[in-house]
Symmetry: C2
Subunit: 443 residues, 2 copies
């Protein structure tokens, strides 16, 4: 099916839905609302997946690419068809508003993103946007008007560094604007291309009293829910990230003539350090993770004992104190390894500006209560991956809902979340929105 052909079908769907557009009405209890439609969500996922579709069954819908433009146009037309009023801020975030009955009430914000990594999948981001659309559909069908206005948000360029949410927080750096992503466009030019206005990007910043709350639904990007056969993850927060570039130095020497007991082999120290990092992260109580993702030996010839090894260490946890504790243990092990092997090990901290971002405890409770009311299984868990929610915690009381990703796969064409799992997530989102609307945060 060509994209043009698909566009016609979408237009037909829009007309069809338009015929059943509900009239806005006063509050009704949550229990009168239908369950989310797995079929409708799956159809929207499939429709969106056409934009940037690749041969592997995933998408290349990197922010600012033609596919991103087309995907956003599709979503905007769907949002309008849902009766929402759409605006795009200077950072190219899409906001779609549904009016509330109380004119002085702050909007409740919810959403996610639709851009992908290169060679990405169909669920990382879109699941949250489509669940948010499903919530609007359910409210429309149930003829419910909330007290608070509702705003559905589609953040711009999440995968390229949380660009849209950083701008909302007022933390987008000027130096980021010239960074070019796989679309071939810079963040500055790309933002303008998709409807933003980079020269006025400061206007995208929102005050901390603007929104009543923010809720993001997202696939887990890990295998915990899938493995434990749980429906919902109530996210405690987004982990902080510590990143160090490590240089191990020994003495490069002839691999044939230098006796085994006369070597200062940087690679032996690097291997010991890699295992020490793994052991420390495994044996320390808690859910911290530590990864050596990058390593290279120099000069890098099979017949030369490495004189230098460059490697990375990344440590993540919900608490900065735990990151600091694991790092201190790694540093201590490194000193011992370096001395024993007559090598040196230097750590250089890389500023990734990613401190732990706990969600609001009241929002966790609201999501947990909604999940329980629906009879869905769940666990409270951290998010090991970064999300726009980590910026939003600085703007509004923030909650986050995970749905399982089969096999924990993400950033891959093989990403898959079942329609039923998505629908359960949308149910929880819907209930959480209504609970916030009913004043749960003020209790």
């Amino acid at each position: 099916m060509t994209i043009a052909g698909h566009g016609n079908i979408t237009a037909c769907l829009v007309i069809f839905i338009g015929l059943f557009q509900p009239v806005m009405a006063t509050d009704k209890p949550a229990d009168t609302i239908e369950k989310a439609s797995a079929n409708r969500m799956e159809a929207r996922i499939k429709a969106l997946s056409q934009f940037g579709k690749n041969a592997d069954g995933g998408v290349d819908r990197v922010a600012y690419s033609d596919a991103d433009l087309q995907g956003r146009a599709y979503i905007i037309s769907e949002l309008k068809a849902l009766g929402l009023s759409v605006r795009i801020d200077a950072a190219a975030n899409i906001f779609a508003r549904r009016a509330g009955s109380n004119l002085s009430a702050k909007p409740i914000l919810f959403g996610s993103h639709i851009d992908s990594v290169p060679g990405g999948g169909n669920y990382d981001g879109p699941t949250g946007v489509i669940a948010a659309m499903e919530a609007i559909d359910l409210l429309n069908a149930a003829d419910i008007q909330t007290s608070h206005p509702l705003e559905l948000v589609v953040f711009s360029n999440e995968e390229g560094g949380l660009v849209g949410s950083l701008a909302m927080r007022g933390h987008l750096k000027m130096s980021a604007l010239t960074v070019v992503n796989a679309s071939g466009r810079s963040i500055g030019d790309g933002t303008n291309l998709i409807g933003g206005n980079i020269s006025d990007v400061a206007s995208a910043k929102v005050d901390t009293d603007k929104y009543e709350a923010f809720i993001e639904l997202h696939i887990e990007q890990g295998g915990i829910l899938d493995e434990e056969k749980l429906d919902i993850g109530v996210v405690e927060g987004i982990v902080g990230i510590g990143w160090w570039d490590v240089t191990v130095e020994g003495y490069a020497n002839h691999g044939g003539t230098t006796a085994m007991n006369n070597r200062r082999d940087a690679m032996v120290s690097a291997a010991e350090l890699t295992l020490a990092i793994n052991r420390i992260a495994l044996r320390t109580d808690g859910r911290q993770v530590a990864t050596v993702g990058r390593i290279q030996a120099f000069p890098g010839a099979p017949n030369v004992i490495p004189g230098r090894v460059e490697m990375s260490i990344e440590i993540r946890d919900l608490k900065q104190a735990k990151i600091d504790q694991v790092y201190a243990a790694v540093e201590k092990a490194a000193a011992e390894i370096a001395a024993r092997n007559k090598t040196s090990i230097r750590f250089k901290e890389i500023d990734v500006a990613s401190e732990p971002a706990p969600t609001d405890p009241r929002m966790r409770k609201i999501i947990e209560t909604a999940t329980q009311a629906l009879g869905y299984s769940y666990r409270i868990m951290p998010s090991g991956a970064g999300h726009d929610a980590q910026d939003m915690v600085h703007i509004a009381p923030t909650g986050m809902i995970f749905v399982p990703s089969v096999g924990g796969v993400s950033h891959s064409p093989n990403e898959f979340t079942t329609p039923q799992a998505m629908a359960r997530g949308a149910d929880v989102l819907m209930r959480a929105i209504l609970a916030v609307d009913a004043g749960a945060l003020e209790k």
Copy 2:
């Protein structure tokens, strides 16, 4: 000092030496021969080091470079000044012949190379050529004519793959001719440039009954003699080399969301394998060495658990059986590591065509006896590095003499062998030549 200016000084030296050119005479006992002149050897090292001299005090005299051409021209003029008749074979090896008194006796061959690695030092190769020239000087000064003809050889392109000696063995591969080295020239073009004739390179092959013996003197390229404060190494043979490219495969996954106990981390397996290789080589009886010189993790991002690691393993020993034994132990450890970490480890053997090359036991004895007669300290030892001698063992009874390199440094501008150490080496070479000439191999 410019090279042109230096050329004039060399010319003066040649004339000066020419005045004292001895008349060839009949045999005299070795004890009547003067000791080698450390000053003269040092002067020649310094003179040769002008060609390709670099800012670090070493040389860039890669085979086929202008510096190689100039260095060869200097050596040829010196060889002629010593009264030798010079020819260049089709593989661009330089042979300089001193007549013997017995017209039916086979020549005794000795020498080494003068080409360097990029960023090389002044001693790896030149020490052996200059020691050979010193031996001729001593014979000339002592008015000695040997029974056997003597041939001093300067092998072409040693550092680029033993090109000259492989051609003499008849083992230079056609596929090697197009290989381009740091000179920017191919082995084929470069050989022609420096006086060879690549279209007739088969003519460089020598019969196994052509030479009475071959002796190479070389710096150790390891730190054993220097550390043990020994004058001479009697080389048992050149070690064989086994080289494997290893692929470790796990499962690339998100470094933030994948729990520590749920990872299939290729880097953890690669680190364990690196340490297993080191441990096996250290703990196995003998002098084998094993090196992981090259390693890289993929995809190579700090926040992604490596799904694949590529690494090299090199094992060297004087005996093939020992290489096989160490490799078998490594393979067994790898199977255990792979299974424990739910990863796979594949080995691909790389053909480096470098089987162990033991020197001739009679030649070892001749060199050892010469060393003892001179009162120099020594040890019998393998060569961990490759040398032209490893090809020559297939052509003639071969012996090899090591002199200490300070700190074991080689392939570096910091290479240094003291003039006194070089002179002691030349003394041993001289005595060994005379012993072979006196029929020691026939005893």
